[in-house]
């Protein structure tokens, strides 16, 4: 389903941080640090559990405040690579609160939302600064986006498709 190399199917972001590589590694792997930054605007991370071994599970809960009250979303996955302090890779899927994977469609997402994606973090230090490259892939081509704010969006996505 996924076409590697097509920029529309994959998010790649590079950033530099004024911190040593060990600290950046902790940001990703220490649940307390992770909770402090990972929530997108308006969201908090009440739960983060990482079994930091290849094949080890991870589980993240996100809570968002919406005009209709608090909304919780759960994400589960498995570590694919754990090479401290340089590389971390894991799969990510939406799940219920017990970590059972749910398809995007069953969570109210528009058709085509990926059920499973892969996140890869690559870190590299020079002169006390750390370069980070994030890759998030596994995205079906032209799938309509769906990130919480987007749930009532299927009709719109259809419309956009017709227009392109």
């Amino acid at each position: 389903m996924t076409t590697k190399g097509d920029p529309r199917d994959c998010v790649m972001i590079e950033r530099n941080f004024a911190a040593p590589i060990g600290l950046l590694w902790e940001m990703w792997t220490d649940p307390e640090h992770f909770k402090a930054w990972y929530g997108p605007q308006g969201a908090s991370i009440p739960v983060a559990r990482f079994d930091l071994r290849v094949g080890g599970e991870r589980f993240v809960g996100m809570e968002m405040t919406t005009p209709n009250g608090a909304m919780r979303m759960w994400f589960t996955g498995e570590h694919v690579e754990v090479t401290e302090p340089r590389r971390l890779a894991y799969t990510e899927a939406m799940s219920d609160e017990n970590g059972n994977v749910r398809s995007g469609a069953s969570m109210g997402m528009p058709e085509g939302h990926p059920t499973n994606t892969e996140v890869r973090v690559e870190l590299d230090e020079s002169d006390g600064r750390t370069h980070m490259r994030l890759t998030h892939e596994g995205i079906p081509r032209d799938s309509p986006g769906a990130m919480g704010w987007n749930m009532a969006f299927d009709k719109l996505a259809e419309y956009v498709k017709q227009q392109s």
């Binding site: 998010v11 941080f17 980070m132 704010w149 719109l156 419309y159």
Partner: protein, 119 residues
């Protein structure tokens, strides 16, 4: 320079979309142009409240208002939506804002005063 402007425009668009009333308005407009009165019908909201939502959509480049003085029907602007409608673009936006927060958090941790107590 241009990149910054684009990013600001993108933020405005996502902020506009982060609201269920505005998404419903857009979904309605995807079926055809409508006046503010028509758009307000399904909502238990005053006209000024709906107008405010429409202004946000307009500023975000998602909706255009017609020139017919009295009715000024609203029309959806597909271009802007297309730019933000792919899964990848939405995730990019989320990751970028996360990393802004990570940057801030790292600065706090490393400031001479320290914030170790916050852990």
């Amino acid at each position: 320079m241009t990149a910054t402007l684009d990013e600001q425009a993108l933020s405005a668009t996502f902020a506009a979309l982060a609201n269920s009333t505005r998404r419903e308005i857009l979904a309605r407009l995807a079926q055809g142009s409508a006046t503010v009165n028509e758009l307000a019908e399904p909502f238990e909201m005053t006209l000024p409240a709906i107008s405010k939502h429409i202004k946000v959509l307009e500023r975000a480049g998602l909706v255009r208002r017609g020139q017919h003085a009295q009715f000024r029907p609203c029309t959806i602007e597909p271009q802007r939506l297309r730019e933000v409608s792919t899964w990848a673009e939405q995730y990019r936006f989320v990751w970028e804002s996360r990393f802004d927060q990570l940057d801030t958090y790292l600065t706090q941790l490393r400031s001479p005063r320290g914030t170790k107590g916050q852990r």
